[in-house]
Amino acid sequence: MTERRVLVVGAGLAGLAAAVELARAGFASLVVDQAGAPGGAIHRQPLPGVAAHGLPAQRRRWRGLCRAVAASGDRIAILCGHRFAGIDADGVALLAGERSRFMRPAALVLAAGATERVVPVPGWTLPGVTTVGAIQTQLKTGGEAPAGRILLAGSGPLLCAAAAELAAAGNPPVAVVEAGRPFRHAADALALPAGYLAEASAFLARLVVARVPMRCGMRLCGIERRGDALVARAEGGGRHLDFAVDRIGLHDGIRPNGYGAAGTAVPVMLAGDAREALGARAALADGRRVGAALAARLAGRPLPPGTSPVLERERAAQQRLRRIYAHDLGARLAAIGDDTVICRCENRTAGDLRALGDDPTDRELRLRGRFAMGRCQGRFCGEWVRRLRGDAAADAPLGAVRLPALPLPLADLIDAGAPDEDI
């Protein structure tokens, strides 16, 4: 039997950087990714014949990492088009895809990036309303902006970035509705690292040229379908604005996507945005750090430091960004009416949540309220359920991960056969 490999979930910056460090220390890994090609969310690869996207510095960073992966030879194998469906207490992982299979890895690195946060608003379940990330995915892979009138709304620097990318692709959004007031925080903005400022000014310049209005200090209060159009109403500063559009992108920041990391018999480490949502620069550094730490752990050597100067810098920058985009999230949540859907999977509303009484337990929230019990396992409702109830620990998951961590046809489990020692 060959030595068991490390399973790395996610072939983005963090996952591949971890695999490279493991390879340097002599450990082989299998990197799985659900997409058709490596890249992750940041370096999502375009379809054949579509021009590469991204700034030159970003592309250099990605090419450098790809060279390091290639130099690792057969110590790194990449399996695309397959998804990590969880790992059980005995250390058996399930990979689902064209050829589903079980695997017994020596250890697990979860580098599956981030999940978008979206504050619930009436009408957010309507077809044509997606996350901003979904619009960016279409843009990056297909090289063309979605057709029709687009509105971007929510809060955070990704709104401006996506708006600028849409403008560059020839279809600027009709407006950006930003709940915060980022232009009122000049001191914090100027203290951001130079790379952030350069990116932000490039994006803002594109928005100015394309005449995209930024509606700051406003939030969406509802979306309706009227005929062929989605009509979104924004309010703030004592006024209302209506937008009739074809597509709406919602975004309120990102959170780590660490799903599937239940207690198991083998070492598990989270890397990159899946551990702490700090963005691309930190993901590369964090992947390296985690790869080196896991290699030390597997070899029984002392662990290296748990942080790095890059991580510290990016953490400080992200804190600054949060101050720049700060707004009254509590007021937005308090304005959520009883008929607003909170759980998208099972159509459970804020009214259903409030009807559970003042202090329902997590178990009651799940079993009586059905929150976090649907197909997404609470990825999109968990935080809002916690916040609407006034929980301090807004990020604590509602209940344990249920395996498989994603819906699978039974045939996939049957096809997967017996766990391989190594595949």
């Binding site: 659900q34 044509g128 990330g133 995915t137 998208r344 099972e346 819906p407």
Partner: protein
Amino acid sequence: MSGAILWNGVPVAFRAGESVASALARAGIHAYGRLPTGQQATVFCGIGQCQGCLVSLDGRLAEACLTPCRDGLGVASAGAGND
């Protein structure tokens, strides 16, 4: 490879490597059929996390946002039977 997928039997062209969701979106198709909850199935997160875009692909349930198109692939609403 490019060609057409069949959305409820109607050909929808796709580009090589494109996801089912992307091809349907370019054809203006965002509503994937009514779910048992009364909502329409549709793309939301676009990265396989929300499961909102589950459709039947040649009879097998899968996320439209993650599955690449291939010529002649039959795409239909998941329908209430798959809840």
